[in-house]
Symmetry: C2
Subunit: 335 residues, 2 copies
DNA sequence: GGAAATTTGCAAGACGTTTTGCATGCGTCG
DNA sequence: CGACGCATGCAAAACGTCTTGCAAATTTCC
């Protein structure tokens, strides 16, 4: 109890009666160590409570063993789940995971990325919607690994992980068709976003697979918000004959659709069925509970983590990869 | 374009025609530097894109410049907001913020804390509900700064930041009383949790301030869930005369209360008013939109950050502190 | 113009780990 | 018995930054 000396690798070596070299090799496994000494060293490490200093290690190896997840919207429940997926894979490997919000002017994307590069993170998962080529470039130019969500695959700009929006939307529409609905309206969100385009494609695909023609009048485009959903729905509900079901671009829009339907004295799903997309928490709290598509946020996080890990631990890049994860239809009460 | 040499402080010194010492002091400000050279050095830093290596710095200073936020529930939208608050204060100071989930068995609290101590984070904000004294102890014993959410103030275990649950609940009840409601039921959650106890106290306080007696029959205790809210509400709605308003322990319970009311063919707020607590996203998506109390998650995050910063940057501790933040009543359509 | 105050340089040690080439000791196999 | 393979030790050089006491150079002030 003399000095508050931080226990270092040398102390371990001394206590285990081996050399520093050996202790280091027990930890890294870069040189064979006999089972007996390995056990002894590990026991001493335990006893002394030795923790290798990440700074010293990082200084020597050039890796910070830290990665970041950059998101653009704090309130979107998708991101925390994704972060948990990242954590599950990366924490056991000793990585520190930083979640950064880039929204508004206070912490814009540029300053967040600048901060992360200053901190020398080893990799970045860019889940921010408002990311530009410039940002991808800044990151890769700094020699930092990059994984993106959605976007076009570009050999310069790292791997991509995304959910199969098209397939998910096709499943929803197919579900309605199987239940006998035929006149199915689509209340979609912005078409200049990847989800907007891909989900529209899924709508088309399902109808095609059932041998049905697409009636363009049944498709409206608005914004991915509650009010966007309401106004789009009103437009469709004015049609004659009235659609039997409204497929919405996301859950928020679906809530708006239910507002519109209720406003006209109609019921869900009695008069009109409604579906959402994303499976946010509110989807199961609303009455009736919403049939929707679950976005595998957790699995997406894990996939990102594994790509990052590959990049960081291994051989130099072998081109960029794209991982597409399936989505899952959740049937509740609104259809 | 010869070698991919990482630019270090020595390169900056050379390019600016000053010594390493001076560059370092420009950055740290621990020694006066003339405006002229300071400007020159900063310009060169800019031109060369010099970024001080955090590992080297950390090794030398003994600080990782990283802090962690530990949460127990990924799906709780409170936490991301809090994280954003932390980020606002800490990122400009160069801190890396790691958000860790400790839930389930995969990543239990012990392993998460162990991980963070291994990583030598400078401070931890422990927002995990299932934290024990043992955990506080592990953290402080490692010399790591600690800030907790709720709990009893203990000189050994760091500062505390919390919201004024009692005051918030008193505001809700006062709001109802002002609108003329008199027979007000309380559908509360678990009493062995801090929110449960504090919110109950707020209910009492408001009635007392209006000079009214508390009718114990109007208070039921269940769990902080939708079904908990529903069953508690049913119990109260069976009373004769029926309560005019149901004050709920949180928003989820309020949704359950609305289920129960609707199930009996009654309307909100026509027959019975309902209030929630926490102001989760769903509170404004539900019909009618819920009157509730907004938990200042963002401000809580900032407060935690400032406490941490004080601890880390300054003079050794001056005892522990407790910060209590006010909550805000949000009046919507359910009252 | 001279004294005082301010600014800058020098040089080297720490911080704790990883890495490496070479040497040594030991057991085993043929 | 000689050779070989394996486990380990040694010593030292990085990695990039901060710190520091003292001396030299420069500026500021009367």
């Amino acid at each position: 109890m003399s000095k508050e000396h931080r226990v270092g690798i040398a102390d371990v070596a001394a206590a285990a009666a081996v050399s520093v070299t050996t202790v280091s090799h027990v930890l890294s496994g870069r040189r064979p160590v006999s089972e007996r000494t390995k056990a002894k060293v590990l026991r001493v490490i335990e006893e002394l409570g030795y923790r290798p200093d990440p700074s010293a290690r990082g200084l020597r190896t050039g890796r910070s063993h830290a990665v970041a997840l950059v998101v653009s919207d704090v309130t979107n429940p998708f991101y925390p789940l994704m972060a948990a997926g990242l954590q599950e894979v990366l924490q056991p490997e000793g990585f520190l995971i930083s979640v950064c919000v880039a929204q508004g002017t206070t912490q814009d994307l540029d300053s967040v990325i600048g901060h992360l590069l200053n901190r020398r993170v080893d990799g970045v998962v860019l889940a921010s919607l408002n990311a530009q080529d410039r940002h991808f470039n800044d990151i890769t130019a700094a020699g930092t690994a990059l994984v993106r969500l959605s976007g076009e695959l570009d050999p310069r700009f790292g791997d991509i992980v995304r959910a199969d929006d098209t397939g998910g939307m096709a499943d929803v529409v197919a579900h309605l068709l199987e239940r006998g609905y035929r006149r199915i309206g689509l209340v979609n969100g912005e078409l200049d976003s990847a989800p907007g385009r891909l989900r529209l494609a899924g709508y088309h695909r399902a109808l095609r697979e059932f041998g049905l023609d697409v009636d363009e009048d049944l498709i409206v485009t608005g914004s991915f918000t509650r009010t966007g959903g309401a106004s789009g729905s009103h437009a469709l509900l004015n049609l004659e004959p009235r659609p039997e079901a409204l497929v919405c671009g996301n859950d928020l829009m679906a809530v708006g659709a239910m507002d519109a339907i209720r406003e006209r004295g109609l019921t869900v799903p009695g008069d009109v069925a409604v579906t959402g997309y994303d499976d946010i928490e509110a989807a199961s709290l609303v009455t009736p509970r919403l049939t929707t598509v679950h976005n595998p946020a957790f699995e997406i996080g894990r996939a990102c983590a594994r790509l990052l890990l590959d990049r960081l631990s291994g051989t130099p890049s072998e081109g960029v990869r794209e991982v597409v994860l399936p989505q899952k239809l959740i049937v509740r009460e609104s259809t």
